[in-house]
Structures are given as C-alpha cells and as structure tokens.
C-alpha cells in the first residue's frame, strides 16, 4: 500500500459509492454505502500491514462493514443490504481471480492452486464475518436509542 490511509479511504469510498450506484441504492443513502466501503478497506489495509496476515485483515474489514451496515440500518430504518453490499465488495478478491487465471494460462499448477485457494479462503472469511455479526441480536446495534422514562 504505497498511498497513505486517508487517500486509501477516499479511493475505497468512491469505489464503494460507485457500487452503490450500480446496485441502484436510494440516492440519499449512496454516501453511507461509500463510507462503509472506505472504512472496511482502511481496516483491512491497516490490519494486513501491521500483522502481515491478509486473512485477518479481510476478517476485520468484513466485520467492520457488517457492524456499520447494521448500525446504519437501525439509524435510517432501511434494509442493511443497502450498506452491506457496497461495504463488502472492495474486499472481494478480484485480483486473486486474475492471478489464478494467469497460473492456468502459464500451465503453472502450483501458482494456480495457491491463488485459487487464497481466493476461496478470502470468500470464506468474508462469509464467516458476515454470519458472525448478523447472528448478534438487533438490540446490540440500537446505539443512542432514547430510553423510555420510568413511570
């Protein structure tokens, strides 16, 4: 990662907002999807650089996106999918798909296998992170809710 985190945030957020437009999110909520994607990417990048473990990075990135999307879902009374999909997509291993294909073309079985298994691991970790966050009860994310006054 040769660009500073703040630049990475804006790049990833712009890309995630682009995905939100492609998936036809409501106009007033596109920027929230972008925010999810930007934060998820920065968390991924930071954890990856500091632990040298890309799977850990993807895991925490996906957890961040899922937590943020559930929080926004409560705040804006909208399906969490609106924020989750733009938030997760930057973490999907498109580059590994290319590297797998390159291994196939060069008939390099070793590279093919390594890159394909990395791609599958990425997808699996994303799925585990989503399942983990979405199995928490909804009330966890009702941050800032007005408590009912005691009678």
């Amino acid at each position: 990662m040769i660009y500073p985190y703040i630049a990475q945030f804006f790049l990833a957020a712009a890309a995630a907002a682009g995905f939100a437009v492609i998936f036809n999110c409501p106009r007033q909520k596109v920027y929230l999807g972008g925010f999810c994607g930007g934060v998820a990417w920065v968390v991924y990048s930071f954890v990856y650089v500091s632990t040298i473990n890309e799977l850990l990075g993807v895991f925490f990135g996906a957890v961040t996106a899922a937590v943020l999307s559930r929080f926004f879902s409560y705040r804006h009374m909208a399906p969490s999918t609106l924020f989750l999909i733009p938030g997760i997509v930057p973490l999907v291993p498109g580059s590994l798909m290319y590297k797998t294909m390159k291994g196939v073309l060069e008939t390099n079985i070793y590279d093919t296998f390594i890159e394909a298994s990395r791609a599958i691991k990425f997808a699996g970790v994303i799925a585990v992170a989503i399942v983990l966050v979405f199995s928490l009860p909804y009330s966890v994310f009702e941050i800032g809710k007005q408590k009912k006054p005691k009678a």
Partner: protein, 258 residues
C-alpha cells in the same frame, strides 16, 4: 375477498423484493408479517427460493388458498427493495389500506433507475480507484478509467440482450481486458496486470457472496447454496473472459511472453 386481496398484496411485495435482489429470509419475513396483520389468524405459510415464491393462507371466508409465483430474471435494484420494505412496514402498522397499498406497489415497481451516464461514471470511478488501491500509478489509473468506460458501455448494451448473467460477465471481461491490452500494445501502460485486476473489480460476485452468507446464516440452505454456486460461476466466467483475451493477444503477438 379481503383475505385473497391480502394474499395478492403479500405476493406483489414479495415478487418486487425477490426480483430486485433481497435475501430470501427478508422476503419470507415481510410476506409473513403482512399476512399476519389480518384481524384473525390466517395461518400463513411462505416458502421462498431464488426462483419462486409459494404462499398459502387458510381463512374462514376464502378457505385454503395457495399461490405460486415463478420469478425470472433477477436484477439488482436495492432502491425498490428498500421501498417495498418501507411500504410493508407502513401497511402492517395500519397507516394505509389495502387499496392504497396496491397503488403504492405500482409506484414502486415503476421507480426509475439511475441514468446511463451516472452508471457509466460509477464504472469509471470503480476501475480507476481500484487500480490505485492495488498500487497502480496515476497513468495506469487514467487508462483504467477508459477501460472502465468501455466496460460500462458494454454492460449497458448487454443488459438489453436476453442472455444469462454469466455470458454478460464473460463478454464484459473480454471487452475490458482487450481494452487494456490495446494500451499495452501501444506501450503506454506501466503495469497491465494491475490495470486488469482493478478493471475487473466491477464484475466480481460481491452481491452473491454477501447474500449467500446471510441466507446460509438464517438456515435457507437452498438459497444460500444457489447463491454460492452463482458466486463461483461468475468468478469462473470473469476469469475465463480475461483468459480468452490474454490468450488471443499472445497468439496475435506470435506467442511472445506477456
């Protein structure tokens, strides 16, 4: 009569949500909540798969009624999902009648998509930003933006054809890789590999992975498994498109190593 109307309305909401990319569990839940909003227990049962909806009620007036709806051609339009969700919430809380709800359903199904130009800009933005995020240079990012524009144009042309989603992914990834290889041939690309990685990002199956994981979490193994197969197939077809373009380029260049 009222009961059948309620079932029709629930089917309409479910159809809009499923057609535009909602998760199975959300569709089942919403339909069931609408059917339970009747004055007495209709004993509603709903069963939703990615390709069809089944819903049944047993009421004192209508007897046992079951409706089946086959869903063809899923597109992703999350605005309609959000609007249908909102409508069902309004209906269940009793703010609007069935008649008004049907009118609003009509409005939702006619909601406009983003303009072509907006879509094109977002394809450009995605390709450019990911090229930079994968450590590409500014020059590469600008060239990827052109490839992204080609991808956006190809996608909007392909959407009009009655082809399966996989063929769309295949042709789109061939187009985008070919565009980048043209730059490589002209010698203006710094690192064509990073450019290809960044420019195929708009095609990755992020939607299928996300919704598949959620479906499996809620125990809808049929939908979740289908979604995961969808994700794998899309990835394979995108990679195959890249492979076709690269191999053709290699052949034209007389087998020169890339």
């Amino acid at each position: 009569m009222e009961e059948k109307l309620l079932l029709d309305f629930a089917m309409g909401v479910g159809e809009i949500m499923l057609k535009n990319g909602a998760e199975t569990q959300r569709v089942e839940n919403t339909m069931e909540r609408i059917l339970q909003s009747a004055y007495y227990n209709l004993m509603p049962e709903t069963f939703v798969t990615p390709t069809g909806i089944f819903a049944g009620i047993t009421g004192p007036l209508s007897g046992s009624v079951t409706k089946v709806k086959r869903i063809e051609g899923r597109t992703i339009n999350l605005e309609k999902v959000a609007a249908a969700n909102e409508l069902s919430r309004k209906f269940v809380s009793g703010k609007i009648s069935v008649r008004e709800a049907f009118d609003e359903l009509e409005v939702i199904s006619n909601l406009k998509e983003y303009r072509q130009s907006t879509n094109l800009v977002s394809y450009v933005l995605i390709s450019m930003c990911f090229t930079l995020l994968f450590n590409g240079t500014i020059n590469d990012a600008l060239l990827s933006a052109i490839a992204g524009a080609a991808l956006g144009l190809a996608m909007s042309a392909l959407r009009k054809l009655p082809t399966a989603g996989f063929i769309t992914s295949l042709i789109a990834s061939i187009v985008v890789t070919a565009a980048i290889l043209v730059f490589q041939y002209r010698g203006i690309a710094d690192n064509y590999e990073i450019m290809i990685m960044g420019s195929i990002m708009p095609l990755v199956p992020g939607y299928a992975i996300t919704n598949g994981a959620k479906d499996i979490l809620y125990g809808d193994f049929i939908s979740g498994g289908t979604m995961m197969i969808d994700a794998v197939l899309t990835a394979v077809f995108v990679a195959a498109g890249v492979g076709i373009a690269l191999t053709t380029y290699n052949m034209l260049m007389g087998g020169a190593a890339l």
